[in-house]
């Protein structure tokens, strides 16, 4: 029996048709080309003679396609993706904001995109100028003393930041043993501590989902290197006791690391450097609008206080005596390099373009609108969904599926059902401190109309959970594919395409193929 697709009416989405498309290997046929090299202006060489045994003779299943087929292939694939350009992505913690197109334009300017990282410093003043202007802005925004742009992503920034912490303690004669991490933290925090050779000590949150000061006081000792704290926390709440937290740590010689994943709630309103943070990372792909691109690239600059400056990765960006910019490698106490060259430079260009487009007033308004949007959603949906923590939300709000779970409808089901209404799912089952978490972060990029559509959709889904739970439990119903079998994918992994094994030759009845 066919399931009715909707109880209510999805105002945003209608089912749409998109085209089928095989893997490129299945469309390939010998002799097709999508390239034409320039005429060779030097003598051709005999590759076998030059390379001997090292020469390659076969490229296996590499495809052979024409240009129009490649354009259609990837264009058709693109239509199978949801994207910010299509609508709201209420993914909590991920900060899916608008990615301005001028950012893309400036990143592709010839003198910028074509700059080689080893070209002489005298011929790189533009690139170094971009890095300097961005660094100065980020230092001012965070209230810290100095910064490195080298880390390639947020987790890589965490790695760099904790290496700074370690080097600092080592310089005092003892690297210390453990890093404290709240149970509400992102998984990257404990993974990072482990990569840096530290033990992880789990810090339990209090009844409000915040750092428990008594517990912190009890746990911090001379073996504690740092606390890794996300502020605002993953439940979207500012740690009001932040100064006390910093003081407790500092009294025992430990440092405060801030995971800046949620910095978009603070820009222009408060500065981590002012409230006791010693070191933090930023995600340029969250707060500063560089595109997520289906999973990357990111960029994770690390800002820190003066006491950590000697340990920053090399090279360091410096202004030389003659006023030009340069790269300084001679830093005896450095933690070393964390990435080749200077980091994901293309992301610096985009982030700086975003900062210039906003200015101080725009950045503050951006933060305010992000917080306004989250609180609007909270006000409209409180009661429809359970709100486990009542403390004032900043940029995101975490509900739970407690009310709907009585009918067997879980957060994951409602997230999938949201897809039918023309949205991406919110963040499902995170943070771990909330059972059945539904984490919603609208960002500043959503108009009131789009927010109302989301609110309306979630209310309809809550009604469906009462009236027709199965409809929600089996969602999505309008996508090109139904729920995918992830268990088999993990049990019998197929991670690449292989040419079908050639069968016995069969006589093809060509006549039958004619129309």
């Amino acid at each position: 029996m066919a399931v009715e697709k909707f109880v209510g009416t999805p105002k945003k989405a209608t089912t749409h048709t998109n085209q089928n498309e095989d893997l490129m290997f299945e469309k390939s046929s010998p002799g097709k080309k999508a390239y034409r090299l320039a005429e060779l202006d030097v003598p051709a060489v005999d590759s076998v003679a030059l390379l001997g045994d090292s020469v390659r003779t076969d490229l296996g299943v590499m495809p052979e396609l024409s240009e129009i087929e490649i354009i259609r292939h990837f264009t058709r694939l693109s239509t199978w993706n949801y994207a910010i350009d299509l609508g709201m992505y209420p993914l909590g913690s991920c900060t899916m904001k608008y990615n301005p197109r001028v950012n893309e334009a400036v990143a592709r300017m010839e003198g910028i995109a074509e700059a080689h990282p080893y070209q002489p410093e005298s011929l790189s003043q533009g690139c170094l100028g971009i890095m300097k202007t961005l660094s100065d802005a980020l230092i001012e925004i965070t209230g810290m003393d100095t910064i490195t742009l080298q880390p390639a992503a947020g987790a890589h920034g965490e790695f760099t930041g904790i290496l700074l912490v370690r080097a600092y303690h080592e310089s005092k004669g003892n690297a210390r043993k453990k890093i404290l991490i709240p149970d509400s933290a992102h998984g990257t925090n404990p993974a990072t501590a482990a990569v840096c050779g530290y033990e992880v000590a789990n810090l339990k949150s209090n009844a409000q989902g915040m750092v428990d000061l008594d517990e912190l006081e009890r746990m911090v000792d001379e073996d504690t290197a740092a606390l890794m704290l996300t502020n605002p926390s993953t439940i979207g709440v500012f740690e009001s006791d932040i100064k006390k937290i910093a003081d407790i740590l500092h009294a025992k010689g430990a440092l405060l690391y801030m995971d800046g994943a949620n910095m978009n709630a603070l820009v222009g309103k408060t500065r981590p450097g002012d409230f006791g943070v010693d070191v933090m990372h930023l995600n340029l792909h969250k707060t500063f609008s560089t595109p997520h691109g289906g999973g990357g690239p990111g960029s994770g600059p690390v800002a820190c206080k003066k006491i950590l400056e000697p340990f920053l990765p090399t090279p360091i960006l410096v202004t030389k005596a003659d006023g030009t910019l340069g790269l300084e490698y001679n830093r005896p106490q450095t933690v070393g390099r964390v990435r080749m060259f200077y980091g994901n430079f293309g992301m610096f260009v985009r982030a700086l373009a975003y900062i210039l487009a906003n200015g101080p007033d725009g950045l503050r308004q951006t933060t305010e609108d992000a917080v306004l949007n989250a609180n609007y959603i909270r006000a409209k949906l409180e009661g429809t969904f359970e709100l486990p923590y009542k403390t004032r939300s900043l940029h995101e709000v975490v509900f739970s599926d407690k009310l709907q779970a009585r009918n067997g409808v879980k957060t994951g089901d409602m997230g999938k059902r949201l897809i039918d209404y023309g949205f991406h799912a919110y963040t499902v089952s995170f943070p771990l401190v909330v059972n059945g978490a539904m984490m919603i972060e609208p960002t500043e990029s959503e108009s009131r109309e789009e927010l109302d559509l989301l609110i309306d959709a979630l209310k309809q889904i809550a009604r469906e959970a009462e009236e027709n739970p199965e409809l929600v439990q089996t969602a999505p119903h309008t996508t090109r594919l139904q729920r995918l079998d992830e268990t088999t994918a993990a049990r019998k992994p197929i991670l690449r395409w292989k040419a079908p094994v050639a069968a016995e030759p069969v006589l093809v009845d060509t006549a039958a193929k004619e129309w």
Binding site: M62, C94, T366
Partner: protein, 446 residues
């Protein structure tokens, strides 16, 4: 502010719906002493045309109109126009990590195609969906080998890119992975007897690069035999991925760490690029980073999902194979488009043009008075070490006068080669005219 879709009235009405008097009430959890009551001291708000002007000015302060012979881990190849047409489609550019497969099949299928082509090119059985870059990829590959073998040391060739080795040193120190460096022989390739002597029963892996930092192609089979005889894994790092069109893949390796920047990614002052780890299937559970797998939906239709995430930090936390989360998906998509444009025949043709250009550059520079190509004899791809009559820095400074950026001076990393050695590169984009001009300038300046 043009990116913010709110009217003043919207804001006013929304505050009323929330039940607060002013926006500042929503920030009341921030202690008053830490509330910023002034404007940030950053550049003022710019109009779009002003942003373009500002960056044009930056661009003009870089090298414009120079012919460059720099390579050394970053290579200027032609980027087919359709790469940027396609990756700037909002559905690719502005989508998130494909955690909801029903509405992310575009990214997922493209990354499955990426993994397939990387396997084919490297001669490995599986590949992940990208790492940050070649340097961190090599470091992660070593940590992976340590987990696989239960041994703790790494033997690293001196001919691996010096900045890769620096990154590895940073990662290795806190993983307590002792590293040993092995030098090169007269032909610029790994010294096989020194390698054999350096591997002990505690060696988890040997890391080499091929083509190596000097542009020379290593004897991967011979090195694999030496490593495997003592139970160590072989990791091959590849910094110039275009070489795989004409150079035999390192199929004897256990793990390959590839930097795919050459596949259609702009040199862009050092990033973003696209690392990727490929390996034998038996090491799957120790692989870091995201993996895309094929599966079916409940109607039996083929689809793709992120899989085996129990290796990753968001599930395993401190017990994960790596702390990596964000990867280089959009850059991996660029490389996938590049590879589909060149394909089976084009990758070979492209690599052969690079061989031909470098052979020509080598002949015109090497025949210049007093100049000499080092490590001549071993097979090479498109880079070589040139010894000039005068110091490399001095020579390069003189060449700048002719709008030529010469090869990379090597004394900083390889003092044993003396002050006159530099690393030169030619790709399919380097013209005969540029090479002749460089040779003439070198002869004049030498």
């Amino acid at each position: 502010m043009r990116y913010l879709p709110k009217s003043p009235l919207d804001r006013e009405e929304m505050l009323a719906e929330i039940g607060v008097a002013s926006i500042d009430d929503l920030f009341s959890t921030i202690p008053a002493e830490f509330q910023l009551k002034r404007d940030l001291k950053i550049p003022r708000q710019h109009g779009e045309s002003e942003i373009l002007d500002r960056f044009r000015e930056f661009a003009e302060n870089n090298a414009v109109g120079y012919s460059s012979f720099l390579g050394a881990g970053v290579y200027r190849h032609y980027r087919p126009v359709i790469i940027d047409s396609l990756v700037q489609r909002g559905e690719f550019l502005t989508s998130y990590t494909p955690y909801q497969p029903e509405i992310s099949q575009g990214t997922l299928q493209a990354m499955f195609e990426f993994q397939t082509m990387i396997c084919e090119l490297t001669g490995m059985e599986i590949a992940n969906a990208s790492m940050y870059d070649g340097s961190t990829g090599a470091a992660e590959a070593i940590m992976m080998a340590v987990r696989v073998t239960g041994r703790d040391g790494a033997v690293i060739a001196r001919t691996v890119h010096p900045e890769y080795r620096e990154v590895i040193a940073t990662y290795a120190q806190h993983q307590e992975i002792p590293t040993v460096e092995v030098g090169y022989s007269a032909d610029g390739r790994v010294d096989l007897s020194a390698l054999d002597a350096a591997i002990t029963k505690d060696t988890a892996c040997v890391l080499i690069q091929s083509p190596n930092f000097f542009g020379t192609i290593e004897d991967v089979a011979a090195i694999a035999e030496i490593a495997h005889a003592k139970g160590a894994l072989l990791i091959v790092s590849i910094a110039e991925a275009v070489s795989l069109g004409i150079v035999r893949p390192p199929a004897e390796a256990d793990i390959v760490s590839l930097e795919a920047q050459s596949y259609g990614v702009a040199v862009g002052y050092g990033g973003p690029y696209c690392g990727v780890i490929a390996c034998k299937e038996k090491f799957l559970r120790q692989m870091p980073g995201r993996l895309i797998g094929e599966t079916k939906d409940k109607d039996g239709k083929r689809g793709f999902v992120l899989t085996l995430s129990t290796r990753e930090q968001h599930i395993r936390r401190e017990k994960a194979t790596s702390n990596i989360c964000t990867n280089q998906a959009l850059v991996a998509l660029m490389t996938t488009i590049f590879l589909s444009v060149y394909g089976k025949q084009g990758m070979k043709d492209l690599a052969e043009q690079n061989l031909a250009k470098a052979a020509y550059l080598q002949s015109v520079l090497g025949s210049s008075a007093g100049a000499k190509v080092l490590f001549d004899g071993a097979p090479r791809f498109h880079e070589f070490v040139l010894q000039t009559p005068k110091g490399a820095e001095e020579t390069n400074t003189a060449l700048l006068g002719d709008k030529i950026i010469g090869g990379l001076p090597l004394a900083k990393w390889y003092p044993e080669l003396g002050p006159n050695a530099s690393l030169w590169c030619a790709t399919e984009l380097t013209t005969k005219k540029q090479m002749d001009a460089a040779a003439a300038a070198l002869a004049g300046k030498a």
